[in-house]
């Protein structure tokens, strides 16, 4: 029951049933029409032949009178498979023919009639049916010429019978074919279900079978497989991230623990305990900061901050962030220049964009050591720019530090990725990831470029916010239209 029950519950079965019912109905209509038409055709044929026979006999009568007619009739009536003939006087006395008895009153009416009759030679035999025409001859004689309908009826029966059988066969074959097709479909669906179940059980490497028929099931399986590829890639990324998190959090946690342990072991007075505790608090603040940054990235990536978008001036953000970091840069011996002469209106989350820019500036200050040997004419320092370019605005932070080799530029955007030379600097390795996530949230992008020498990070954001989804593909195309004029440079501090 279960296998059959499952079969009956399938969509394929229901579809087959509907299709079959419709098909049988139409077939039946065609058959009935065919049967009816055959009957009509036979009737037509009979009337035609009977009519021509009557014309011939009329001619005989006209030429040779009643005697000749009787003679001809008798001769014709004796032929095998003959027509039905009956010739009577006006009073109804039979003169010639092969009809023994008729339905009463048939002869009184001229014209076409369907009648039951018995043949003259076998009166005791069963009744037959005939289509006959009665004509009134001059001289009061009446003549009936007809044709037996047995042939027509048999034909009709044959057609109907054949129809019934074919319908039955259609139904049987239809059901059988349907079952067969369903089984195949069901087998494939079952195979897909089984794979899906193993995937659900945790084996993400499983893929749905593809039959190679390029039908809709194949297309579906193909699409699902693509989706699985994407999910697997995402899961892989997620796993990598959590591995990184585990690793990156383990180091400070170990440090934290060691510090506590050491304090317990070696500290002698309150002051030493205090120092140790302060150290642990600092360390845990760092951990909290890393967590917050991760959460922020996750929020930005999931697009949750989209509802907090307003119009603001990116140039003002550049000035604000620049002003915030200027003393810090100054302390490290770097000149921080802000070049944001014109308003650069944009729609977005001001707070997040400020943070993204702050991260870039923070990085620049951290890594752009002022003692790097620079070619002649190049002054050390950091430059923050805000400019409009077409339907985008560009926020640029350029430094004269060691830069990032082209091969590593994509990698440093990933979470927790820190290049070797930067390991000595404090930081979580999340700053660029956050900036990238913020750019993506706004439908924009973050590009790392060579500042020759140094690093140039560019956040490009569509003016209209993320709705327009116009992502800048090629940043070189979007260079600021106005050349940075020396006079408009505002030197903060």
């Amino acid at each position: 029951m279960t296998a059959l029950g499952k079969l009956f519950r399938t969509t394929a079965f229901k579809l087959t049933l509907v299709y079959l019912t419709t098909f049988v109905l139409f077939a039946a209509i065609v058959l009935v029409y065919f049967a009816w038409n055959t009957r009509r055709l036979i009737n037509e044929q009979i009337t035609q032949t009977v009519d021509s026979e009557i014309v011939t006999l009329q001619d005989e009568y006209d030429i040779g009178g009643i005697r000749r007619l009787i003679f001809t009739l008798d001769a014709r009536a004796r032929r095998p498979d003959s027509y039905l003939y009956l010739l009577t006087t006006a009073a109804g006395e039979g003169l010639a023919g092969n009809v023994g008895s008729l339905t009463a009153g048939v002869l009184e009416r001229s014209g076409w009639t369907e009648t039951a009759y018995r043949k003259l030679e076998d009166l005791e035999q069963t009744e037959h049916h005939a289509l006959a025409k009665v004509v009134q001859l001059s001289g009061g004689f009446r003549m009936l010429v007809g044709r037996d309908l047995e042939e027509r009826d048999r034909m009709h029966d044959v057609v109907i019978g054949a129809g019934r059988w074919s319908l039955a066969i259609v139904v049987i074959l239809g059901i059988a074919g349907g079952l067969f097709v369903m089984r195949r479909v069901l087998q494939r669906v079952d195979a897909m279900t089984a794979t899906a179940q193993t995937i659900m059980a945790g084996d993400l490497s499983g893929r749905l079978p593809i039959a190679g028929t390029n039908d809709e099931l194949d297309r579906l399986a193909g699409n699902l497989n693509t989706m699985l590829d994407r999910i697997e890639a995402l899961m892989h990324g997620l796993k990598e991230v959590s591995d990184n998190i585990a690793h990156d959090l383990k180091t400070p946690l170990t440090r934290l623990r060691n510090r506590c342990e050491e304090a317990l072991r070696t500290a002698e007075d309150e002051a030493q305990y205090r120092t140790a505790l302060e150290g642990t608090i600092e360390e845990s603040d760092g951990l909290i900061r890393t967590f917050n940054a991760l959460l922020m990235i996750a929020r930005a990536e999931s697009g949750q901050a989209r509802d907090n978008m307003r119009d603001f001036d990116a140039a003002e953000v550049a000035r604000g962030v620049g002003e915030l970091y200027e003393p810090l840069a100054d302390e490290k011996g770097l000149t921080l220049t802000i070049d944001a002469p014109a308003a650069a209106p944009v729609r977005g989350n001001r707070e997040l964009i400020s943070q993204a820019l702050a991260n870039l500036v923070d990085n620049a200050i951290k890594y752009a050591a002022p003692d790097v040997a620079l070619p002649d004419g190049v002054r050390p320092g950091i430059r923050i720019e805000a400019a409009s370019a077409g339907d985008h605005i560009l926020l640029t932070v350029a430094d004269r530090g060691p830069g990032i080799p082209a091969a590593d530029r994509a990698r440093v955007l990933e979470r927790f990725v820190r290049l070797e030379q930067s390991r000595s600097q404090p930081g979580s390795g999340l700053g660029l990831s956050l900036a990238l996530a913020v750019a993506h949230l706004h439908g924009g992008d973050l590009k790392l470029e060579d500042n020759e020498p140094g690093l140039r990070t560019v956040i490009s954001l569509p003016r209209a916010g993320p709705v327009s989804q116009a992502v800048a593909g090629d940043l070189t195309r979007l260079q600021p239209t106005q050349a940075p004029a020396g006079g408009s440079d505002s030197q903060a501090g």
Binding site: I281, M296, S354, Q355, D362
Partner: protein, 263 residues
């Protein structure tokens, strides 16, 4: 700054609200005020018992009075009939969430300053919290010094009038003319430095944390990784304190900064 005898955590759920302040002797109470830090009555609405106990204990250690409520309804009931200086409200609470508690209080015309504590530390959560009637917002995990500094600013804000000229010792800041002088000597400040000093002087005698400065002076609500604020402070310090015998801008270790007269 210990005040009075050791105090048991007085959970409001134990049916009777015993204000710790009333248990203090008049001299103790005066002492508490006399230390420059008025005794505050706080209501902590927090369902995490450990966190609440920790907070209550910490507040008592610095001389404040803290009552506890373990859920939203209880907290609301106590906030309605108690006289509190500041409410500390966890955002996610059983029975009635923190934002609804504050919303209901504001609806009844009770304007007790409220600080929202939340595990949801994002910008838009903060905006929602402030929109609901909260006066400040602090994401978990927080440091007690940060919370304390904010609570004290909130408590002081009530009833404080906006003065036109702030004075700390011989340092004067005129908010109208944007002039800063020390011993009648004009000090030239950048606009942002002026705002920084203005905020510090407005809360003279109170600890102001780096985050508070970043939020109130720069209007940024993110963590700038590096301690950019410290550099701004040291610049400001070099302008207002350099060459004067008595430093006014103090660093409070592990907490933030404070402008005050004397040590």
């Amino acid at each position: 700054m210990k005040v009075g005898a050791p105090v048991e955590p007085n959970h409001i759920s134990a049916s009777v609200v015993i204000a710790t302040l009333e248990r203090l002797s008049p001299t103790q109470r005066e002492n508490a005020y006399g230390m420059g830090r008025a005794v505050m009555r706080l209501l902590i609405i927090e369902d995490d018992r450990d966190a609440a106990d920790y907070l209550a204990k910490a507040f008592r250690e610095v001389g404040h009075v803290a009552d506890l409520a373990a859920d939203g309804e209880e907290g609301l009931a106590h906030a309605l009939d108690g006289q509190y200086d500041v409410l500390i409200v966890d955002r996610m609470l059983p029975k009635l969430d923190g934002l609804s508690v504050i919303g209901t209080l504001r609806g009844k015309g009770i304007e007790t300053p409220a600080l929202i504590l939340s595990a949801l530390g994002q910008v838009d959560d903060r905006v929602k919290g402030l929109r609901a009637g909260g006066d400040d917002y602090l994401p978990k995990p927080y440091s007690f010094s940060e919370l304390l500094a904010r609570i004290e600013v909130l408590a002081r804000r009530r009833g404080s009038r906006e003065e036109m000229v702030y004075r700390v010792a011989d340092l004067e800041l005129d908010r109208l003319s944007h002039r800063v002088t020390r011993t009648n000597q004009e000090i030239d400040l950048q606009p942002r430095e002026f705002r920084l000093l203005e905020y510090l002087m407005k809360h003279a005698g109170q600890v102001v944390t780096r985050t508070m400065l970043l939020e109130n002076v720069w209007d940024y609500h993110f963590d700038p990784q590096t301690n950019v604020i410290d550099v701004h402070i040291s610049r400001l310090r070099s302008k207002i304190d350099k060459g004067f015998a008595q430093p006014l801008l103090h660093t409070v270790r592990g907490a933030g900064y404070m402008i005050r007269e004397g040590k």
